[in-house]
């Protein structure tokens, strides 16, 4: 993440460029190759849904909590979905305790936009009493280990956790809401997943690790639903893309998202 302000040794930077120029990567991967992915669901007992994603040495735990609360004033007839990310200080020596900084906020918002744009949940159905009581779905993205590409890991974890989440069932009686003691699975309308690519020199790589993120000139995240529609896009860092490069990246994302989807 650029704002970690880590000072990369010039040697490392040079080496990464050299290796990429020969069509390989420092960790032996091909340019368009993801690291090993492991997705575990139902890892937390008290959360309404949970998932843990390992993407190489990157590890993100996602917890879903569902409770009844007040809707946003502009959407009184819709349930609420909120993403929040935390870079725990366990994850990397440069991560410090404290309120979320810009990279954590970006992570939460990019994942959030993907879920929201795809309308992952039928928000109309998450209403108990219009304007007063709706289901609020909190998705907490807990970064436990950082080795690059948090967005893809978190987005995958969020969808995996929501897929397995169960919400408490309430009933409305005399204008009051009561718990029934039953639980009901959330129904997902879409399953948007993120594919992040990095531009380093003239190379476009998939799934950048921490070293690659430190030297990357630009980053592009494309979030796709299962129909191939684009649900959100985020471009980052201090270099631009030509239109041809963007087209190449979009096509590559379509190809790679299938691999991620196999882990759901």
């Amino acid at each position: 993440m650029s704002s970690r302000q880590g000072i990369v040794s010039r040697l490392k930077q040079k080496k990464i460029h050299e290796v990429l120029a020969s069509g390989k990567r420092m960790d032996g991967r091909g340019l368009e190759e993801y690291r090993d992915i492991v997705v575990k669901t139902g890892v937390m007992e008290k959360a309404h849904g949970s998932a843990e994603v390992y993407l190489g040495k990157t590890r993100v735990l996602v917890g879903v909590s569902i409770q009844v609360g007040r809707p946003f004033s502009d959407t009184p007839d819709k349930g609420v979905l909120m993403c929040n990310a935390e870079f725990t200080p366990l994850a990397h020596p440069t991560f410090e305790p404290g309120p979320p900084r810009a990279p954590a906020i970006e992570l939460a918002r990019v994942v959030d936009r993907g879920l929201r744009s795809a309308e992952i949940l039928d928000f109309d159905k998450l209403v108990l009493i219009e304007g007063r009581d709706v289901y609020m779905v909190f998705v907490d993205l807990w970064v436990l280990s950082y080795d690059g590409n948090l967005i893809d890991a978190a987005a995958l974890g969020a969808v995996a956790a929501l897929r397995t989440a169960k919400r408490p069932v309430h009933k409305v009686k005399d204008g009051k809401i009561e718990l029934t003691g039953k639980m009901k699975a959330l129904k997902l309308r879409k399953e948007p997943l993120a594919v992040t690519m990095a531009k380093i020199g003239d190379s476009l790589i998939v799934d950048p690790n921490a070293d690659e993120e430190e030297v990357m000139d630009a980053r592009l995240t494309v979030t796709l639903d299962e129909d191939g529609n684009i649900c959100t896009i985020q471009k980052a860092n201090w270099e631009g893309f030509t239109v041809e490069e963007l087209h190449k990246a979009l096509d590559l994302a379509q190809e790679k998202v299938a691999e991620l989807r196999a882990h759901l």
Partner: protein, 255 residues
């Protein structure tokens, strides 16, 4: 966590894009920008500044620096840091918003930096910071693009060496139709919104985001539509700078 206002995009129901000639809510054509007015050198105490009106968006940008970075540990040994702050006044929207910075503000500040950095020779000023402060006085959809347009002009006004100007506008899909430069209503009601920033001389896209859902082909069309809009804005930015420094077209041609 701040409870920022969330908007939910309408579901995309139409698979194909309608080719209609219907005028938009404000009477514009599909590929027409809102009226834009840019003025540079408007703040006496800033090193560079600009004011933009893009439709009903009103944004004031001040540039300070290059100057010493505080806190020092954030400085970069080999180049300057471009630090953008995006902020909305409480009265810029109705109902009033809290003046405290939101998560949205933080993210927009960050993407503004990413949009502008490719154009600035940051390596000329190691260890220093260039602060870009954007105050949205009135918001009418597409504030981030308005901020980038004004910030570019303000950076030039501050005398900071640049590779190119960065021009920015959005394209999107509303009622099944692809349109340029979404206004507030279109932004909220539409199916998708794709803000783009572009350096016309270097032919590079420096900001690219999307909210909503689009099939890939329409997304590509949106990028092209937005780039055409950026090229028009680029000319308006140049005019604003030429006006400030009293450069006539003849003088420019001589250079």
């Amino acid at each position: 966590m701040s409870k920022v206002k969330k908007k939910t995009k309408k579901r995309t129901t139409k698979k194909t894009t309608k080719k209609t000639t219907k005028k938009r809510y404000d009477g514009r054509e599909a590929n027409e920008l809102r009226p834009i007015k840019i003025e540079s050198g408007v703040l006496p105490n800033a090193d560079g500044s600009a004011y933009i009106e893009m439709g009903r968006n009103k944004v004031l940008v001040g540039v300070f620096g290059p100057r010493e970075m505080h806190p020092k540990r954030f400085s970069k040994p080999d180049r300057a840091t471009l630090r953008c702050r995006y902020h909305m006044s409480p009265f810029s929207v109705s109902p009033r918003r809290s003046p405290a910075p939101s998560r949205r503000d933080t993210e927009i500040g960050m993407v503004m930096s990413w949009a502008l950095e490719p154009a600035v020779f940051l390596d000329r000023y190691p260890r220093s910071v260039i602060d870009v402060y954007a105050e949205v006085l009135e918001a009418d959809g597409g504030t981030r693009t308005a901020c980038i347009n004004a910030a570019t002009v303000a950076l030039v006004d501050a005398g900071i060496p640049m590779r190119d100007l960065v021009a920015s506008c959005a394209a999107g899909k509303v009622d099944g139709r692809l349109i340029l430069d979404l206004g507030d209503v279109e932004d909220k009601e539409g199916e998708a919104d794709v803000p783009v920033a572009y350096m016309p001389k270097l032919e590079k896209v420096t900001l690219l985001q999307m909210d909503g859902v689009l099939p890939p082909e329409e997304f590509k069309e949106c990028i092209n539509l937005a780039i055409e809009g950026c090229k028009q804005i680029y000319e308006i930015q140049r005019e604003a700078l030429k006006k400030k420094y009293g450069i006539t077209d003849e003088e420019e041609a001589e250079e």
